[in-house]
Structures are given as C-alpha cells and as structure tokens.
Subunit: 262 residues, 2 copies
Amino acid sequence: MHYRVGDFAALTGVTVRALQHYDRVGLLKPSRTESGHRIYSEADRQRVRHILALRSVGMSLQRIGEVLAAAPARLPEIFSAQRASLEEARTGIDEAIRTLERLAIEEDDASNTPSLLDRLSATVEMHGVLESMRGYFSEDAWKKWGEGYFTDWPSPAWRAVFRDIEAALDIDPASDRAQELLKRATTLWDAAIGSDSVLRRAVREGYGNAWNARDRWPRELQRRYAEFRVEAIGKFLGNAAMASWRRNGLIHTYTTGQRTSA
Amino acid sequence: MHYRVGDFAALTGVTVRALQHYDRVGLLKPSRTESGHRIYSEADRQRVRHILALRSVGMSLQRIGEVLAAAPARLPEIFSAQRASLEEARTGIDEAIRTLERLAIEEDDASNTPSLLDRLSATVEMHGVLESMRGYFSEDAWKKWGEGYFTDWPSPAWRAVFRDIEAALDIDPASDRAQELLKRATTLWDAAIGSDSVLRRAVREGYGNAWNARDRWPRELQRRYAEFRVEAIGKFLGNAAMASWRRNGLIHTYTTGQRTSA
DNA sequence: TCTTGATCCTGACCCAGCGTCAGGATTGAC
DNA sequence: GTCAATCCTGACGCTGGGTCAGGATCAAGA
C-alpha cells in the first residue's frame, strides 16, 4: 500500500508541511512519482511512528535521525542519555518554580518596600551565587554550612570587619591593632563554622578551593566581593596571622596544618 | 554613571549581541551618542536585572516586555500564571521521563522480539489513547477502571466477540444466536466493571460520553477501533438488547435506566 | 477529450533568541 | 594623526515547522 502526502498526513497525524520538512532534512525521504509527488510506503509509516515516538520523548529531529541510523544495540544507552537530559531540563524548571514560590511566600508576610521585581532579581542573583559556590565544597560541607552561610554574604558583621581592615591596610601586621582585627575575623569565622573538626576541615578546604578560583567566579559574585578590596584584605590577614604565629613560635604548627588541610 | 555596550555587557553578564537584540525588539533601549553608539545608564542596569530575573523564570522576551510595562499590582497574578505554565511544562517532561523509564524496566525482563523502537512507539501511542479517553470519564471512574481497561483494548476476549458478531450482523436480533452473542458481550462487560453500583454507573456514563464523541477521537484511536465495524456492532448489540427487553417485558426498565444514566 | 476542482510541488518569509561573521564607522590613547 | 579597540548595522544560521503564493499535476465527470 502506498499513500500520497495528504493521505499519509491524515493517517499518521503529522501535517503535510511537517512531512515535507522531514523530507528536506533527510529524516523521512519517501519515493517519488515521475512528476515529483511524494509516495509513502508502509515502511515509511513505521519510520514515522518511530520518529513521532522519539520526538515525544523530547529528541530533536537531528538526533532522531542519528538514533534511527544507529545500531539497535546502542539504543539503551541513547535512551538513558535522553532521560538524563530530560531530568536536567526538569531540574531547571523546578528551580524556576521554586524561585516563584519563594516569592509568593514572602509576598504574604513581608514588607512590600522593595518591589516584587527587585525581590525576584535578588532571589535569582543569590541563587546564581549559591550555584557557583557549591561546586567548590564537598557535598556535606555545602549542605551543613555553605548554603546558609553564603545566602546573605557578606553579613553585616563581616562588612564591619572588612571596613575596619580596609582603613588599616598599611599598618604593621604585628601591631596590636592588626592583631585585634585578626582576632575579630577568626572569631567570626569560628563562630560560623562550629566545632565539628571534620566539618571544619572540609569547610576550610572548600573555602580554599573557592578562593583560589576567584578569578573564574561569575561576574555577579565578583562584583559582590568587589565591594571590598578583598585581595588586600586577604593579604593583610595572612600577614597578621604570620606575625601572630611568629610571635608565639607556632610557625611549625601552621605549616603542618597547611599540609594537612591541603 | 553610564556605560558603553562592551562595559555594560561585562557588567551585567549579558552578551553585546543580546543587548543589541533587546534594543531591536524594544525591550531595553539605551540612549545613544550622536554617532549612534549605545549608552547605558544605571536605570538601564536595573532594567536588565529585571529582564534577567524574568528570563530565568522562563518568560519569553515579549512577555517580559509586557510584564515590565504592566502595573505592579498585576505582578502577583502574572507570576502565578507563569508558575502554572512552568508546571505544565514540567508535567510534559515528566511524562516523557516516565515513558523512558517504563521502557527501561521492560527491557530488563521481557523478550526483545519487538524492537525497542517499536515498543517505544507502542508505549507512546497507548499513552496518547489513554490521554484522549481520560477526558470522558469522571476522575474516579477513570482511576478505578478506565486506565487499566483501555491499556490493552481491545483485549483478546473482546476481539473474539467482535469477530463473531461481525460474522452475524445480518441475523435477526431476536434470534437465539444474537441473544447468545449479546450475553457474551454483557458478561464480559460486567466482569470488567465489577459490582460497585456507583462505579458501574460512572463507567457507563463515561463510556457513553466517549462513544458519543467517537468522531472527535484522535486518529490513532479511531484506527484502533476501525479494525472492527464498530458502528454496525454497536447497532447490532443495541437491537439485540431491545429484542431481549421486549421479550422480557422490560422496556420500561430500560428507558428509566437511560434517563438515570444520562 | 477537455475542464475543473482537489491535491501537490517549491520557494520565500515568519516565530524566538540570540551567535557568528562581514564590512564600515568611531573612539580614545599616544 | 595614527592605530588598535570598540562600535555600528545587516545578513545568514539554528529548530520545527506554519503560512501564504504561484504553478504543476491528478482524477473524475461531461
């Protein structure tokens, strides 16, 4: 049995234009009459069934072409890859939905002073920052510490410390003022991490990873940090710590600690 | 502060080409220098933040333009609509994923005689049929009965009855042979529905809805039914039932039943 | 056999959201 | 003034077709 386009379209539920398109892109090439009219066979009907099925699980026409040309033994692998990409797409949608949900929740209780659009922007930007930081931490360290911590980074307390350090960048790292600033910073840091030693190490490691990759951070995050002269502040704290250890004869301990955590 | 495209692009994380595109479509129109170079302001920066946020929750550029022009009071409504459309998209993806999962499960145990592609096609087509039938039944009736029933419709038992009826279409509806065929059909039907009278009525109603709308069924389903001369079979069974009731003096009961179920 | 209406052909332009050249014009630092 | 960096516009590409438009072909009736 063979069909002309119109009949074949009605038969398969695909439009004539789509069939012509499939023909043009080489996905389904029927035979032709002498004058050029398309003639579809039963085999074409099977092929179009497969095309529709693959399309309905989200494959592009190009990929469908590849799949139909692939060895049947490779199909399971292809399908599971497709499933993975569908799941990825779903998580993307889920994130968008969660963003909107959060907005709706806040809307109920909170002040409306920042506009909804501003709050949406802030949520989205924060989300982006979190996403980019997560990669640097172990899964455990991120869940227990990083997520909550970076959500409102830098916190007011950190801001205060940073501002004070910036005003003191040029003083002697061994001076009392410098040591006091160092102590404030380490105290804040200790308070944030807690006392679980495994977690402490994981966090230190993750933070180190993140810091070392700071020039690959996304713009938004770099801008957040650009509010302060972080490079200089980091250097200052490093120098102050060195001075402190030197003062207390703990250089050896520090070195060991470095090795362990690295 | 004002920026040129390149700087603004670096600042916002949007490419220059995208900014030019937004300009062309009227979404973000910066001011221009005399010679035509784009100059972006702080206000533009806010606007691009909003654009990015809205884009990240899945809105089209056109819609973003409308949203940015809309009254702030309408935003909650807009956002919840967006959420709804995201959820719809997600269910579509979920269905595709489930299709692939089912395929993977079958793959483990079953025979590989029909190719994976054929099985995928069958699954997808069945899914389409189920989707189209579901609308005709009450939610309850569908869950308890229709879903499982239509999954492999027509079953071998029904096929056998239909074939026998087709061979007997011209005989007298009141004849013993016709009455026997009617009894076989009603027995099958009763066995399928069970004895819950509420459910029985719901199913009867849903089936009636579906049958009355049979010329609006999707092709695939019509083709499934086209295997048999269903119209003639339906008529035959109707006539046989009429004859049966007439024979037993139950016409009144039948009429009442019709009213009740319609 | 001729006509007529239905069907079929191709090519061009349309949608979104940009990316990717290409060919010129401007800018800004030295 | 020069030269590189930056900017401009326009054209074409991508996906999966939809929507005309203008012609050719097919099938059936007169």
